[in-house]
Amino acid sequence: MNAGTLSPPARVLITKVGLDGHDRGSRIVAAYLRDAGMEVVYTPPWQSIAAVVKLAMEEDIDVIGVSSLATDHLIVPDLMDALRAAGLGHVGVVVGGIIPEDERPALIHAGVSAIFGPGSSRDEIIGHVAALAAKVREIKDAELREIAQ
């Protein structure tokens, strides 16, 4: 991307991994981000970690939003490992839903950028995802420049 041009919209993947199917929250957040001008890829629940990594690669995703209403956040660290193993360590990951306080540090430690619990505001979510996507874009652009040189 040349300096001075408008950057294209952030590309976000909203998904659910594991076994739970409660998707009211993920659908609302997807609509919020879409209405905020981002390009949102939305999947049905029950994605495997491999499927999410594949989609993130194919769709050139900047930020992955994982919604967890049951206990599926327990396998998010595995998702982070899989992303890194696929060379997608720069992709931002946020988690939304019901994440018990004592289980949050493990997610942050694994590289999750933010956790949005119940009651998080729309603006808070949009603001964070936009900033995170911009940061990811910078990394991607730097990589591209490096390849070009």
Partner: protein, 560 residues
């Protein structure tokens, strides 16, 4: 009849009403427009001009009498209070058994069984990451597991509600256990709580396992089998809860639920079943939100609409078929993670709305519902809430205590009109099956969910601790989350694998072949073969995989 046309023969009414209007207008110069969750405008005062009681006999009548607006039984809670039914499901079958025995020892006569999310997805415990097992329900994959889960439980003396979506493997395991124990199936009572595949296709996607036509077929076979062989069992529970949890307004929820029930009833009629034989065992399951009066009006209107449709449209002759029996669960969506103890107050208000609506059975959420599966202590408080409402608050002294309130009757009528209009819309779309297949209902629910969230965002709908009266949440946190013992769960999975090795492979193959054949033959009852498969040692996952192959995999229609 327009309001203006109502002539009240109350001397002095007009003058007094006019005086109040003027006083009110002086003190609140610009009154804000208040709408309930169903978007019906709520006035500051209701009088005989809104509801005069002229149509008392036609619209209300007496409890236990058509159209049952005031309750489906003559005595209602004065005779017998609601059934106290808490959802239970955790860990291994042994963990579940320990919890259920505790509840039975405390005097409960009704239990429930919630399977693990892996079961909902239609797979066995050896097909998923063990860290996800048993966190939200019990891992029951075989008749043997069910035998362990129900050890010491007198199957012929308790009623069991099973969260058991199509193809109803949990009931099959239970029937197999009953046979082993020499208990006749005719003495088994309870409900297939999650038989409403349309609600799963539309709103609760995690329970959706088979394709739409496949689900339709299996449900009808299940109804026919149960009505003939397990007559005390309720094979159909039409679930409004999922749709309201997914964002449908109370009016939409009731309308869609009744449209769904009409669809199932019509499918049974088309199959040649006797409508009274079937409807007698129809039950309903709803969410109770904190919008108190709206919920009361929702249930009263629903009872009336169902009675009229069952009699007039479906042609049911037995008054038992017109009765709208429902289980209510306090709404988890209204609960907050912030200041979680506040949820005890919310649950009490929701439960009161359900009780004053004349429900038949009630689950009260534990206050930590918005955070995790309940612990023994939080589950105890949820039950105590019901006990307090029943024993201390005198809520059961009078039948339909809000009946005759100008407000509640007006709202009941208004909501009924809107529900009937929506049911008409679904009729126009060709019934609920087609409306769901086309995504019509999903779009409406999605829009309502977004509209409600918008109101929370802009503060129009207040949520204490979330968009008002916020406080530092830290003080309420810190309790470690209880998770199933991973080692024990891994042992459970290992034993399951060993079990699969040791059983008669010939029996399993025969049962699965018979099941696949039945799925492809309209003359056979698939559910009968499922029960036989359970008896032959076939697992939950094997049954679901077989039916998914023969009848199609269930992909819910999700609309963002």
């Amino acid at each position: 009849m327009t309001k203006e046309a109502v002539q009240l023969s109350l001397p002095g009414f007009e003058q007094a009403h006019g005086r109040w209007r003027a006083d009110y207008g002086r003190q609140i110069e610009t009154d804000r427009v208040i709408r309930n969750r169903s978007r019906i405008e709520i006035k500051p005062l209701y009088t005989p001009r809104d509801w005069s009681g002229d149509a008392f006999l036609a619209d209300l009548g007496f409890p236990g009498q058509y159209p049952f607006t005031r309750g489906i039984y003559p005595t209602m809670h004065r005779g017998r209070t609601w059934t106290q039914r808490q959802l239970i499901g955790l860990g291994t079958p042994a963990d579940y058994n320990k919890r259920v025995r505790l509840i039975l020892d405390a005097g409960a006569t009704a239990i429930s069984l919630l399977p693990c999310n892996s079961g909902f997805r239609g797979v066995d415990c050896d097909e998923v990451d063990p860290v996800l097992l048993g966190t939200c329900g019990t891992v029951v994959n075989t008749t043997e597991h069910m035998d362990q889960a129900l050890a010491g439980v007198p199957l012929d003396k308790i009623s069991t509600a099973m969260n058991d979506p199509s193809p109803f493997t949990l009931l099959a395991f239970t029937l197999a256990v009953a046979k082993k124990r020499g208990i006749p199936w005719t003495s088994i009572t309870g409900t297939s709580n999650q038989s409403d595949y349309l609600s799963h296709f539309i709103a609760n996607h995690m329970f959706y396992r088979l394709s739409l036509p496949g689900s339709r077929r299996v449900l009808l076979d299940h109804i026919e089998f149960c009505r003939n062989r397990v007559p005390g069992w309720n094979p159909v529970s039409v679930v409004g809860q999922h749709m309201q949890q997914a964002g449908a307004t109370p009016v939409e929820t009731m309308a869609f639920t009744i449209s769904t029930a009409l669809q199932y009833a019509q499918d049974c009629i088309d199959r040649g079943m006797d409508i009274d034989f079937v409807l007698r065992r129809f039950t309903f399951f709803f969410d109770i939100s904190i919008s108190f009066f709206e919920e009361v009006a929702k249930f009263r209107a629903g009872r009336r609409i169902w009675a009229r449709l069952a009699r007039e449209r479906l042609g049911a002759k037995d008054s038992a078929s017109w009765r709208f029996k429902f289980h209510g669960q306090t709404s988890g969506v209204d609960l907050t993670e912030q200041q979680p103890l506040n949820n005890i107050a919310r649950v009490a208000v929701q439960a009161m709305a359900g009780i004053m609506s004349g429900l038949q059975s009630l689950h009260t959420d534990a206050y930590d519902e918005a955070i995790t599966t309940p612990t023994e202590e939080t589950a105890r408080i949820a039950v105590a809430t019901q006990n307090i409402l029943r024993e201390e608050a005198h809520l059961c002294d009078v039948i339909d205590p809000l009946g005759g309130s100008y407000y509640v009757e007006t709202l009941t009528d208004q909501m009924e009109r809107e529900m009937v209009a929506l049911i008409g819309k679904i009729d126009e779309a060709g019934g609920m099956y087609k409306a769901a297949e086309a995504g019509l209902v999903q779009s409406m629910i999605g829009e309502s969910a977004l509209a409600f969230q918008e109101k929370v965002e802009n503060g129009e709908e207040k949520v204490v601790g979330v968009n008002c009266y916020q406080s530092d949440n830290a003080e309420h946190r810190g309790r470690p989350t209880e998770r199933p013992n991973l080692e024990r769960m891994k042992e459970h999975v290992a034993r399951f694998k060993a079990y699969k090795e040791q059983r008669s492979q010939a029996d399993v193959r025969r049962a699965l072949d018979a099941l696949a054949r039945a799925a492809n033959s309209a003359r056979e009852n698939v559910y009968e073969r499922i029960v036989e498969a359970a008896e032959a040692g076939v697992t939950h996952g094997e049954i679901v995989h077989c039916l998914r192959r023969e009848l199609g995999f269930g992909h819910p229609l999700i609309i963002v």
